[in-house]
């Protein structure tokens, strides 16, 4: 039995910000100038204001996207999109904002930031990034990452991500996050220097723990089931929604053909001609109205997608708990077996199998001095083991407490956001009906005049 390595996690201390100003100033992260629609204001609103975030009011926005070419790690030409992140500080008195920082980042850097946060804040439900590749695509949407619509929706998603992190009571204090917004060059090196990749739990280890853990906290088990259900139901919903959108598109667009044919037909008709012609025009209007409708729906889909990805973040927290719990259980088991060995050596009874025991039986007894030495080693190990177990236990409890606090916060946020999203979806449908009524009323008038 060797010395257990010092728990790497104990050494893990995320870099925190030095306080920049008066301790009682509050943070308000508001939606930046280019954000579209009220839907993106979610994380910045209401409930977050009471917490003590950054000590200056700031606004973050991802305001532009630009195509760039450069050389990648293998020295090959590549095209990618860079996003402009602007940070503004809002002065208390007059509400005017002053641009404090502005830099360009690409998607992979966002990923790096998030992976860092995942390692250093395993008890936090870390906000997800917008999807890497377009999924749940229906036929009109391009699956191409360079497509302007996709880039635009990604821009909004990235802004949303930053706002969520900035309005999180704990994450917002992180230095690497601060540097992400303020230090363009060298940021990647700085992140990598933290060595976070090495500290990440191995996937295999985590999987193993999930299967073998005996007594995880029941709440986490339930949460895991919930997040599985959430993920499965939202992805099913998004898949079907995409198909529904496709079909609806078809229905509307085919009507556009009426426009063309009516117009051609009206040329040979005397009495019906005018009616046909103007009805045809309304058919065209009807057919083109679907584009705006479905664009709005795409935003709705993005809101659902965010929570689809949040489900994964929830699972990550559960996995961490299982890992810690498993670790704890293994340590306890190990300690128990060592204690038993010690007892057996002391009393001379052999209840547990050990190689040493076997060999002594086969090749003769060990000397009392040897036995004493062994007992001593074991006793030291037991001592250390007990201390470790104690601190692991405490860590485990801390983790559970902190994680659960964040999970509660997340639940409220989720219920609020999704409710809003669903209601705005219903509103969208009503407006679609209104448009439909108008167009068909106009068309009907034309038909009846034929």
């Amino acid at each position: 039995m060797e010395q257990a390595l010092p728990d790497p996690e104990r050494r893990l201390q995320p870099a925190t910000l030095e306080p920049l100003g008066h301790p009682d100033a509050g943070l308000e992260s508001a939606v930046g100038e280019e954000a579209e629609g009220a839907r993106d204001e979610g994380p910045g609103d209401g409930t977050m204001m009471e917490n003590n975030f950054w000590l200056k009011k700031i606004e973050i926005s991802v305001s532009e996207a630009e195509k760039r070419t450069g050389r990648n790690a293998m020295n090959m030409q590549e095209t990618y999109t860079a996003y402009l992140i602007e940070t503004r500080s809002v002065e208390h008195i007059d509400g005017q904002s002053v641009l404090t920082d502005s830099l360009w980042r690409r998607y992979s850097e966002f990923e790096l930031l998030r992976n860092y946060l995942l390692v250093y804040y395993p008890h936090i439900v870390v906000p997800p990034l917008p999807e890497k590749r377009a999924e749940f695509v229906w036929h009109k949407l391009s699956a191409d990452n360079m497509d302007p619509d996709f880039v635009e929706r990604r821009r909004i998603g990235l802004e949303n991500f930053l706002l969520r992190v900035a309005s999180h009571p704990i994450l917002c204090r992180d230095k690497i996050f601060y540097l992400f917004l303020t230090q363009e060059g060298n940021w990647k090196e700085t992140v990598n220097e933290t060595g976070f990749q090495l500290k990440a739990d191995s996937r295999l280890k985590a999987l193993n723990a999930t299967f073998r853990v005996k007594n995880p906290d029941k709440r986490f088990t339930e949460l895991k089931h919930y997040s599985d259900e959430l993920q499965s139901v939202i992805s099913h919903l998004l898949r079907v929604r995409a198909r529904v959108a496709d079909r609806l598109y078809g229905v509307y667009k085919v009507h556009g053909n009426y426009g063309r044919v009516f117009s051609e037909w009206s040329a040979i008709e005397k009495e019906m001609g005018d009616g046909l012609q103007s009805a045809g025009h309304h058919m065209d209007v009807y057919a083109s109205s679907i584009d705006d409708i479905l664009e709005d729906e795409e935003h709705y889909a993005d809101q659902l997608k965010e929570y689809l990805f949040y489900a994964e973040a929830l699972r990550a927290v559960c996995r961490k708990h299982e890992l810690m719990q498993y670790d704890l259980e293994m340590a306890a088991q190990d300690l128990a077996s060592k204690k038993q060995q010690c007892e057996e050596l002391a009393t001379g009874t052999v209840r547990t199998f050990s190689l040493k025991g076997m060999t002594t039986k086969l090749f003769g007894q060990e000397t009392p001095e040897q036995r004493e030495a062994r007992i001593k080693v074991l006793e030291e190990q037991i001592n250390e083991g007990e201390q470790q177990l104690k601190s692991k236990n405490q860590e485990g409890r801390e983790f559970v407490k902190n994680a659960w606090a964040d999970i509660e916060r997340f639940k409220e946020q989720k219920n609020h956001d999704l409710k809003e999203a669903l209601i705005s979806y219903a509103v969208m449908q009503i407006s679609m009906c209104k448009k439909g009524i108008q167009v068909w009323t106009n068309a009907k008038e034309c038909f009846s005049k034929m």
């Binding site: 959430l230 529904v244 053909n257 051609e264 669903l422």
Partner: protein, 433 residues
Amino acid sequence: MEGECRAPQARSSGLPAGGGGGESPGGDAPLPGSSGSSALLQAEVLDLDEDEDDLEVFSKDASLMDMNSFSPVMPTSPLSMINQVKFEDEPDLKDLFITVDEPESHVTTIETFITYRIITKTSRGEFDSSEFEVRRRYQDFLWLKERLEEAHPTLIIPPLPEKFIVKGMVERFNDDFIETRRKALHKFLNRIADHPTLTFNEDFKVFLTAQAWELSSHKKQGPGLLSRMGQTVRAVALSMRGVKSRPEEFMEMNNFIEIFSQKINLIDKISQRIYKEEREYFDEMKEYGPIHILWSASEEDLADTLKGVASCIDRCCKATEKRMSGLSEALLPVVHEYVLYSEMLMGVMKRRDQIQAELDSKVEALTSKKADTDLLTEEIGKLEDKVECANNALKADWERWKQNMQNDIKSAFTDMAEENIHSYEQLQHTRGI
């Protein structure tokens, strides 16, 4: 020898003509001869406020209208003509009611076929009874149509539904196909009943009233298959000729028919496609709603909102279903009928051209003095009348057809628009969560 029993003849013998009693002008002075009757008609027309276009059917050449049938020419009495004209615009005076229903499958060793029940109710004197019930199969309808075409080559005979539809048909007799066909056959017979001339066709009457064996023997009395085939070959040659000397108005008509045919075919395709897209939209929506219910099972706070969305989607499904049935009941059959009509019209044009060509070839023969001049002159005289008659019949029927087409298309599309408006209005009210 079948004759076309001219109903006017029966009418003038004083039998009641469906409710028109009160409006008969001193009907006891039937005026023979064409010009007299038209003058009288004019007077009556003003009183009854008739559509003048319809009158062309009963103009001075009306008596020559059916030269190509085997019946002797009968003078039309003004009383009978007025009563005929009335049918068109005052449906309450309709005296022939036909329904087609109850499709039934018959299996024999050779074949399987469907018959339809046809019920006729009438108050017309020339019918032996006031109610008839017979069974007919598609072949019988085909026979009737051919007879009508022969008897009235330049009238626009209503179209029959297609023999079969190749695309997407697995089994010849699936329910939707039968139902669609039944409705179309119903329409076919009613259109004939509403047609001022065709309604009195003798074959039509036999079709509606004869028992199965009677019909078979009646059918055998027509021109044989061989003679019909012989006519076809000649007809093709003739029609090509007739095209060249087509008068201006018929050129215009032909032009219209060509473009109309194109456009109505496109509209048919578009409408079918819309139906298909609506159906697929409906299928997806049916899956969409329940997912929200499923989700609501894992949520607490969100459960109500989710259920609300699910019920909206459900409403949407129902509205779509309604739209679909509106389409398949009103718009699609009407548009499709006019697709078939446009094919009919091309046939009518051809036949007109043939008749004209016959005349032209005889005239040519006369000028080249190749055959007996006297005989030719006589024949030419007859043919000239025939051509004029055919042209007039077509012109009149054309106007009538166009008017009907306009009305049918207008109401079909107006109904569709109304359906859509209604659909959206329904949805609007249910969306409030």
